[in-house]
């Protein structure tokens, strides 16, 4: 155990002794050999020693900038997609920089989540991949729930896509009809409103006038995957920086997209109870509610 910990401490010191993203990137550049030294530990934490926050070296932080490009490219892998993009980018980063037990887990675990789980249009796979990583680290239930709801809420209101890859993936070169250049990206952004894949994708594609199964959709979702992966890394860092025992995470307040609804639809109602944390109005708008329903302000 001490042998393993000291090995990880060496990596951590190399990453943080000087500090900053540039230094981190240089360590990452020669990361393949560092990763090799941690893939087959003979002692130390195993996947069963869950959750894994307890095995992170003191002061450990992820590099949010470093997970974006791998997340973007993993999206385009065969049997890849959004969940594989965010999950594999974060897990490989953790395996390379924190070692065991992250390096003992399969980076391919997120492939099932593409298209809102097996193409079903449920929860956005990039979110699900991120949630699965948060779940592996955060040990306190209250903080875990706060982080998860915060990530989901953030997604509903964020403008996607925002990441511009360093290298455009070969899979999209010459195929997109929209201008995904860094200068024009802001003109392609919408807020999903919902954390569900089919609402997020359909809304963006309709706004942009493109099909939901074409190269423009792929270019949008691959960049969104990078955005979400980086957000998850930032959130985990915020949690790890907490100095309380147990660590805490301050989620953003639930906004008016639910508050006006839950006044009449509390969990405790015996006629129309609603147990939900997500924003109501993107799905249940005035337009979609029966005429007998009070108008939502």
């Amino acid at each position: 155990m001490s042998k393993n910990l000291s090995r990880r401490e060496i990596i951590t010191r190399a990453v943080y002794a000087v500090g900053g993203a540039a230094t981190f990137a240089s360590v990452q550049a020669c990361g393949s050999s560092a990763a090799t030294t941690t893939t087959t530990p003979t002692t130390g934490p195993t996947p069963k020693d869950f959750p894994y926050e307890q095995h992170l070296p003191a002061g450990y932080r992820l590099d949010p900038a470093a997970v974006k490009e791998p997340a973007y490219h993993a999206y385009y892998e065969a049997d890849g997609g959004c969940c594989h993009g965010s999950y594999s980018a974060l897990m490989k980063h953790l395996a390379a920089t924190a070692g065991a037990p992250f390096d003992q887990l399969p980076a391919d675990f997120g492939r099932f989540g593409a298209g809102g789980i097996a193409g079903y249009g449920s929860i956005c796979g990039s979110l699900l991949g991120g949630l699965l990583v948060i779940n592996q680290i955060v040990s306190d239930k209250t903080a875990r729930n706060a982080m998860m709801t915060d990530l989901l809420r953030w997604y509903e209101g964020a403008s996607f896509p925002s990441y511009t890859p360093a290298t455009v993936d070969a899979a999209e070169t010459g195929k997109t009809t929209l201008d995904f250049s860094a200068a024009n990206l802001v003109n392609l952004q919408t807020t999903p409103g919902s954390h569900l894949c089919h609402a997020s994708v359909s809304g963006w594609c309709a706004a942009r006038g493109v099909a939901a199964n074409g190269p423009d959709k792929l270019a949008r979702c691959s960049r969104l995957t990078a955005d979400v992966a980086a957000k998850v890394a930032e959130m985990i860092n915020t949690y790890l920086a907490s100095t309380t025992t147990p660590k805490t995470y301050a989620a953003a307040a639930i906004d008016s997209r639910s508050n006006t609804c839950l006044g009449c639809h509390p969990k405790t109602s015996t006629t129309r109870p609603v147990a939900s944390g997500m924003a109501c109005t993107p799905c249940h708008s005035n337009q979609s509610l029966p005429s007998t329903h009070p108008v939502i302000p």
Copy 2:
């Protein structure tokens, strides 16, 4: 490796030599010692050797009946819930009857999924727990996607709850207001329509006239968790029984709850594309669509 395989073969032979659920239950009854022999293998498959179908002994099958009672009780654990219920029941069953690498993974991984992920009201946690287990076993992408969409579709149209526990959990004794006896359970059933927690729970609670955070809701969802866990075990068995290479899984046909919609909203549309596998009409009913929308037959 051969040492480990032969150990697992011995367990498999003990379970299947005579066959049938009764024999299986007897083996389970003395399962603690069997589990002990497989928890710390010195050789054999590890969690990284993913997916795990390749490590299952020939002819291996789960016992769907055996996962129900553990799933029901795990729901009531502190920081338990629906996702922990289905996930832990299936994983502990796999660990006890198939050994590595299932016995090297944390059975607590599903706690985050309660209440549609951290109480957010998204995908029903019992489904998410089941999907995470299917994902660990099924190696073929086409079969994996077919199984996952089939599970989600089945849930939308199934009548819940249907399981009656052998022993009512102490947490609900004397607290429920409805009659959850086996004879009356059929009178408490509804079909969720949606795979989302908040729609599933709200619909059932409104139909039964109970709150979404009270003991009746817990009694419903704990039994539903057992139903879903058993369904997942049945589906994995169906997949394992496939004799093709790669194995196949025949999903039920997508029914009229989507077909009439996708005619006007195909993925390929550039005005209103929808990429989704779920039933549309439970959320997008005639009542909820704008007056300019054609009436859904």
